[in-house]
Amino acid sequence: MAEAILQLTDLRKNFGALKATDGVSLDLRAGEIHALIGPNGAGKSTLIHQISGSLTPDGGSIRFLGQDMAGLDMAARARRGLGRSFQISSLAPEFTALRNVMLAVQARQGSSFRFLRPVASDKSLTDPAMAMLERVGLENRANVPAAELSHGERRQLEVAIALALGPKAFLLDEPMAGLGPDGSKRLTGFLDALRHEAPILLVEHDMDAVFALADRISVLVYGRVIATGTVDEIRANPEVRRAYLGDTA
């Protein structure tokens, strides 16, 4: 069995009386896509937020590459190799697509406390950023401000930024949402290959994509993981069918 890159143990998060994360334990192993599925409001995004550091868990632990993430803020976790995309696109809206990716390239290269050299003509930033845009198929939109991109294009840009960080694990929160059938198909093929660069914790509602991609699936309902297993195991699991798949699968 491959070693766990990311390990969640008994993670807990309450919003008032609501148990948004209720004792979640799961892991992400090298080379795999681990899909996290579950109905709306199950707590999938809340889980991603805790891993990436934008929410603090009430209990439990998160270990990434053997290191406890407690006390590290979002930026520190990103520097250690957690690359995330957001369910609701979170970009610098006035920057062009290219400059959004350049920011990630710059962060990966190290210090941002450089005050004189212009970034616009810095090939060590523009070339890798352009390469990432090409990988997600946005190269023709490189000079369009993020605010003017279509919804689907913004999703692609999110992925390009995560790629540019060269992360050791990807946390992708519904990257397919709003992409349309062609876009989803394209991204599915893309993620299929991406797992060999770094494992992916994939939150996704698109079941075709999940069943096509996932090495393992965890099903989250009311903050609890009710099942973890291979695609076939999950499809066959009666509890999952009842709670989530609606018995139609």
Partner: protein, 325 residues
């Protein structure tokens, strides 16, 4: 590459700022040189604030603290030098502008650091209020400290000196100030285009995004705040020398507000925004100030127009929307 309309507008402003005082000097109208110097210094103060406010989105309502501190550095050092006394711990006083500038810039940086560390834990309206509160503390400190004039302020007997220049003459002093402003404009341009500038502008637009790529927004904003305070402090030192007078009014919240107004008028985050803003402001003050004490009412109307109809400021009106290549 085509020259953008903003670049042309900037060129026109730069030319005006140089040519008008030269013409005034040629025709002996020294008053206009003083007016132009006032524009240049206020523009420099606002350019400093523009780093925090325009680039970083940090609406500091306390930048008068740094403007005033810079002014008091010039006033206090000059007073002690005039009396032939040491300043502190036997350190000699001086009337040399470059030394005074250095002290003003360093002091403002030192003061801005803790203010920034505390204020930047908040954002939005709380940030505005905390920066205001710090500035008010410094204001009341100056008012209640009798050694340096308290409420009445402090006069400089003669303008401080600059190697090889007769600073008591209006034109040479104007040119010194213009040189400082030109340098600051170049540095602002470099900073905005640099990696730091990219991170700072990203912090303004979306701090979550900046964190998600692994850049901690706090440190970026803090450094911007400190640099911003240093530039405004330098302007304060020049302002004291222009008027040969410093008083707590340089530290007042009205002054902080004035600096914000200059930026909004000219265009937030724009290279020449503070210059355009200062020109309009000082011209209003001059043209209407004699006619009515309520000239600020008319300025208020212009400001209202700009905020409602030209969010990019007056420069945005001529140059169109800002582009981020």
């Amino acid at each position: 590459m085509a020259v953008s309309r903003e670049t042309i507008a900037n060129g026109v402003l730069a030319l005006l700022l140089l040519v008008v005082p030269l013409l005034a000097a040629a025709s002996g109208e020294t008053f206009y040189i003083t007016l132009a110097t006032r524009i240049v210094i206020l523009a420099l103060a606002a350019l400093g604030l523009n780093i925090a406010l325009g680039l970083g989105g940090l609406v500091s309502f306390g930048h008068a603290a740094f403007f005033g501190l810079g002014g008091y550095v010039a006033g206090i050092l000059a007073t002690h030098a005039f009396n032939g006394e040491a300043v502190l711990f036997g350190l000699p006083a001086t009337t040399s502008m470059p030394v005074i500038w250095l002290v003003a810039v360093l002091l403002c940086g030192l003061v801005a650091l803790p203010i920034g560390v505390i204020s930047l834990r908040t954002s939005g309206v709380y940030f505005i209020m905390i920066t205001l509160a710090f500035a008010q503390m410094i204001y009341y400190f100056a008012v209640s400290w009798p050694d340096y004039g308290g409420e009445d302020g402090l006069s400089l007997y003669v303008r401080n000196t600059f190697p090889g220049v007769n600073t008591t003459q209006p034109l040479p002093y104007f040119l010194i100030c213009l040189g400082v402003l030109a340098t600051a404009v170049c540095l602002f341009w470099l900073l905005r285009g640099s990696r730091f500038g990219a991170a700072l502008e990203a912090a303004r637009q979306n701090t979550t995004r900046l964190s998600a790529v692994g850049i901690a927004p706090f440190r970026i904003k803090l450094v911007a705040f400190v640099i911003s305070a240093m530039v405004t402090g330098l302007a304060g030192a020049l302002f004291a020398d222009l008027n040969r007078f410093v008083s707590p009014s340089m530290l007042s919240w009205q002054m902080s507000g004035e600096l914000i107004v200059l930026i909004i008028l000219g265009g937030k985050g724009r290279l020449f925004g503070p210059i355009a803003g200062a020109m309009v402001y000082v011209m209003f003050e001059y043209a209407l100030g004699d006619i009515t004490e309520r000239w600020q009412l008319f300025l208020g109307l212009v400001l209202l127009g700009v905020v409602l109809f030209a969010r990019g400021g007056l420069l945005g009106l001529v140059a169109g929307r800002a582009r981020h290549g």
